[in-house]
Amino acid sequence: MFSFVLHASLVLIALSMIGFIYRVIKGPSTPDRVVALDAIGINLVAITSILSILLKTTAFLEVILLIGILAFIGTVAFSKYLEKGVVVEHDRNNH
């Protein structure tokens, strides 16, 4: 029963990932795509966590934290690029 619940949750998360991918492909503006990609990163964390229960190992728990940090950094870099045109500013005199 417990394993059935885990498999059903994996199927639900995969379906929602298909929904986010639809928004990434169709989304009319760039922030739509960035929002959907951020949610896809969050979903990857969920899939990793459920798979580590199914495989009965704790070796993938670092990957969870890593994906969370990478998704946050990617989203911040994208939104800064959209707003200012550059990601890292080198101009030291203009502050």
Binding site: G19, A39, I42, N43, A46, T75, S79, K80
Partner: protein, 118 residues
Amino acid sequence: MIEIIINIITGTLIFLGAALTVVAAFGVIKLPDVYTRNHAASKSATLGIMCILLGTCLYFFQTEGVFNSRLILAIAFIFITSPVAGHLVIRAAYNTNVPMCDHTIRDDLKQQQKITSE
């Protein structure tokens, strides 16, 4: 006996998280503009992933007797950073003039910017 109870709690938490993720995906598909879509995606997906990670932490605490602090750290990190990421994306969207949906009747930020620029 305690094992069955912990399995029930874990299964409920994980299934609740998966259902919340489906709600987030439905909102992202169905809602009309980028602001409402971000409202669905950032809140619902964050709560869903926190439920799933809490269930995982409880499961490994029951089977192996080891408390995984990395999972608690991941919960805290996602709880802090996911709304911040949503805020940054939406501020970039507003400043690059992404249109709102047709039913929007009120834009307080635009009036405020007009007042401060005059």
